[in-house]
Symmetry: D2
Subunit: 379 residues, 4 copies
């Protein structure tokens, strides 16, 4: 079985996320990096690509050039990973889709909702796979919670609570590195810093785990830090179609927190909770008291379809969650190339669109004094 | 030094809170129970009072009778503890104040804001002390957090988060005992179940710890459970005078939770957090990462004025927090009786009024679709 | 019902434990402090006694004088609390027993095993009650664990682990206060610092919770700190009659620890664990994975005979545990005085003897290079 | 830069550890699986190798055949990973070393101490690299602790405590799968189950983190479960060269535990602790109280030489720790092949020998009633 080959846009020197994508995409031995445009600075891109063992003629100056050149090769890349800043996502994804190359894009999918829908239309027209790396829903604990809730273990959902807390924007702008600087720049980050960067992880995880759809929301945003225009902290009240309620708080200015993503779901019969600070444990409670700390892993509970790779007690973590997405994406792609039926067991363009719609609704509600705002459901 | 004598209204058989008040009031040996009307059922009241060693002629049929009779004795009680359901607070407190007897009342002070202000006016007119048992701000950890924040340890406050979660109303009405049943009865509980019963603890603790005043709020309430009219769960967004923001969630229908009161305060330089599940530890963080778990106790940090009674590592808990309030109240009362100056180191009628105003604002905001609603500051 | 009256030896100014005994003994309103010899310095004793509201003629210069005088009064104290340093326990307890006064003594009961047995013989001869304040076995969590184990919930016990860790002797001698100084002085503390002071709490709690008897042990002690002769840290391997094994580590030089008493019991079907750092939670596990965190309190599990005073979610803590012992002791004493049958629901002289035997065996094993040493069972 | 190629012995279908080795060895893109003998059943080995994309002529019936054949190829594997059961390690490692192929072997290195020393002699004679996958010392937290201790942050070490607890042998033999069955079979596992399988991880981690050498130990082993001859649970008291003491408890019959490896090191100035249940946090304390929870990761503390791959807040876990060993091993091997100097930044044959010596000393002490037994230091 021949390995798939893939290319990367962005993710070079100084991008912490690039290495993670590459490790995740290569962990299971299904694919291999073959081409890339890792930086807008061609010298840096060259350096990086050479160290990764690429042929020099597949290290490109621009993504446009890369899409063109790869499409013209006899052995083009099978798919491209887009790990560049937000404002590049749309044009870049379009460029590859137009050349018939499958795409995996980081979140948020695009800065404008119409762009996200446009990418979907194009991918469908070209019959191409499109993945979006909502990595947290690919963690074993997310699968575990989804299963438990779907099985009715906590009854009917009453309330969902979500948080994603960091303090990486408590420092003044002059102390930020490039990876944070573009996130506060409206020209690159779009309409939102906090909501678009980490809020969407929280929203997507809630959707995945509960299976509920947000009908409307009321959001309040806060811009902390001199010389900033976009939210660095926001809260949102959620109302789901089912009648359940929810509330979220995400922040880049929560001192002492670092990637503290956590959710809790309370139902009529029990509750379930999880935090990225203890990624391999899910806490479940019934009524009136006792709390069960469940290890998520090969010995923990039901197994069929479980994404666990390790024995219980061993932490799976971020890289393996990326690998779960890439394994699912590549498994689908291999089948598709072979003309076989396949399942889409990875977060895709619909999840990407929903998250952009969520960001737009939050910003709109905030700009209207917290008005209850419907989320646009059109995909 | 003669002990003070006190009486009790309510708190008899079946009331879990009555024993706590009595233990708290007697722990330091400053006062002694001397009279009471422990139940509307005189037989039960008699039984209870006898077991507590009271003379039969000081066990009363009604609080009106008790106020009258005690005021006419040569050795009247020095103060009365009102531990009856909410709707009795106002009339009962008035009855004793009018007879010149000092009062300690449980929260919420009254069901109507005007009543609370009226009690204040009467207490001032009669020159009487009035305590309200907001017990959580009397815990050593609350003092510790207040000191750290006041000392500037976390910088300027950006956001405050508070929760008070229980699941004692997840059961249907037919499975509730009397102590919960009156809490869902508008005729007794007033306008609110969750907010008036536990929300006020969270609000008062936030005010105490941060020193901030809430300017306006937007609240959303939920009525969970058949045959109920009042909130059993609510969220509120808070805006403080200082520009800081806050959000609260309190619930009686959060499966698996039981008196999980917790707050966290995030500032420009650090954060501080506490949960009643670990009452003797306060967690402090600076920017970027490390978290310090501080034991609150005789060896933990600065000491002057500290309410710690035990060596670090020993849990102080609820009863000692009640005792802290009673000790402060009785110490003030002893000085007052002796004509000496005294400090009011216990939560009093102003805090009581603020909490009733908070409940009114929450209910009003909810009834108006979450409209931002100013809190009435008049005391 | 008349209150019992009691006296105190030691526990005055500067003794943190004295206040705890007094709060515990008075919390339930069954007894009242009536006499005392609170310090070897009569002036200090007078000051302390006056502040506690005692008549001056019942504040004594020596415990011998107090035993003599009280026994000669028409209204003698019913019992005496001995909260003085270890080396005083034996003579002091004897003095009161000989005068027919019941005794509650702090741990360790005596510095020599023969002394402990002698006290038992005398108490039996005089038909007097004798309590020893092993406070941790009077905590609700201890009761909860004992019940669960006795009910077979964890199967047959395989191994028991216990720790009691503090760092109150990491400082050099010149930085210690009086309360720690006598604990490292062989003339006062006896043969052991760590084992006699905190090790016995761990040993007694293990015995109480498991119901197992230690047959033999192998101990290793360490003397950390200049100018010290006695153990400040020790480990012991235990073999129980049942064939189960155990191991303990106690230390006064474990940096960062402060009264971290914890035990865990592992059986063929499950395990149970508890730590004083979270006194109101017991953790139970079955085989293969899931862990249940049980809140100990009024809503948590079986109730009959439970020593819970508070609703689940409220910490009971040290003072209430002392109060549990005093309540049980005084309840028994009241019945005994009334000529009624009574139960001994408090730790007594047998537990006191066992702990002195434990200390002797540990020291002896250590002095013999860790030789397996049988514990003397004679009481 | 050409990738290294490697082969595997064992680790096929049904071996959970094989996949981990492969993921770890391939994560960084430095090496690629090229040959293997994955099972004693050739059919299974073929299946497995084909799915991994191997040429059929490099899927072997025996490791002897593989060593012979690979050594004779123009493109032999660069190194072999030995992930078969313990009793195969010695002969298998010898076979490849003799053919000039570098080796990475799982722990315990061998079942007999002489065998371990013999492998060292052979590797030195042939000038070959030899790694042993003590995976826990390759976790970022281990590095962090080692750095803090070496920097004197906790002063002079007083005591070290280590545990490795699981319950995977609480089930009776008939319920065990093959992966556990060979571990209780003396013909395969050697002299010990618990100590050789998990005890050595704890011992090696302690050695790595503290830099201390064990001089002598006193061990007690327990054989739990019918039809078993080897230890399933053991405790050991340790004395280090420095005068520090230590104690360990490891168990396969600790109900509710699953890979709970934890260590704590107490010094004269502070302490440091870590548990695999929270792999990305290290807890540090000074004297008297406060505890600091340090996130191990890119933003947490000093960075030079740090093995962190992820931003703080993301769990690195088991697979990345294996990858750290393989990255270090392959980096060294690449330099060696290029005739360049290289550092041995991976656990090697000396650590492997020490662990076998540790197992032998524990078993010997136990067989002699817990006699203090010196560890053989000869390597």
């Amino acid at each position: 079985m021949a390995k798939l080959s893939f290319g990367m846009i962005g993710g070079g020197e100084g991008s912490f996320i690039g290495d993670i994508h590459r490790m995740g995409a290569q962990l299971d031995g299904l694919g291999q990096l073959a081409a890339g445009c890792f930086s807008r600075d061609y010298g840096k891109s060259l350096d990086y690509g050479r160290r990764a063992g690429l042929d020099e003629d597949r290290i490109y100056r621009t993504y446009e050039e890369m899409a063109e050149a790869e499409a013209g090769r006899p052995d083009p890349i099978d798919f491209v990973i887009v790990a560049a800043p937000n404002h590049i996502h749309y044009d870049c994804c379009r460029a590859f889709l137009e050349k018939g190359i499958h795409v995996v894009c980081d979140k948020p999918l695009t800065n404008e909702l119409e762009q996200a829908r446009d990418l979907k239309a194009l991918a469908e027209e070209k019959d191409l796979l499109f993945g979006v790396t909502f990595v947290y829903s690919a963690m074993p604990a997310a699968w575990f919670m989804k299963e438990e809730i779907a099985a009715g273990r906590i009854g009917e959902i009453i309330r969902v609570k979500g948080e994603y807390l960091s303090d990486n924007l408590l420092a003044p702008n002059e102390d930020l590195d490039g990876g944070m600087l573009w996130r506060i720049d409206p020209a690159k980050a779009g309409k939102s810093t906090c909501c678009a960067d980490i809020g969407v992880h929280c929203q997507q995880l809630i959707s995945y785990v509960t299976g509920l759809s947000i009908r409307e929301l009321s959001a309040d945003m806060t811009v902390v830090g001199e010389g900033r225009q976009l939210d660095t902290d926001f809260t949102a009240s959620l109302r789901f179609d089912s009648g359940a309620k929810g509330h979220m708080w995400c922040s880049n200015v929560a001192a002492g927190k670092y990637n503290d993503l956590n959710i809790a779901v309370y139902g009529t019969k029990g509750s379930v909770a999880w935090s990225l600070e203890e990624p391999d444990f899910v806490t479940m409670s019934g009524k009136n008291g006792q709390t069960v700390r469940c290890r998520v892993g090969k010995s923990g509970g039901s197994q069929a379809g479980a994404p666990f790779r390790l024995p219980a007690g061993q932490s799976e973590g971020w890289v393996l969650a990326f690998a779960n997405i890439y394994r699912a994406f590549m498994t689908a792609l291999i089948s598709k190339k072979a003309g076989q039926p396949f399942a889409r067991n990875y977060p895709g363009i619909d999840e990407g669109i929903d998250s952009v719609a969520f960001v737009e609704a939050c910003v709109s509600s905030w700009q209207n004094g917290g008005r209850w705002t419907e989320i646009c459901r059109k995909r």
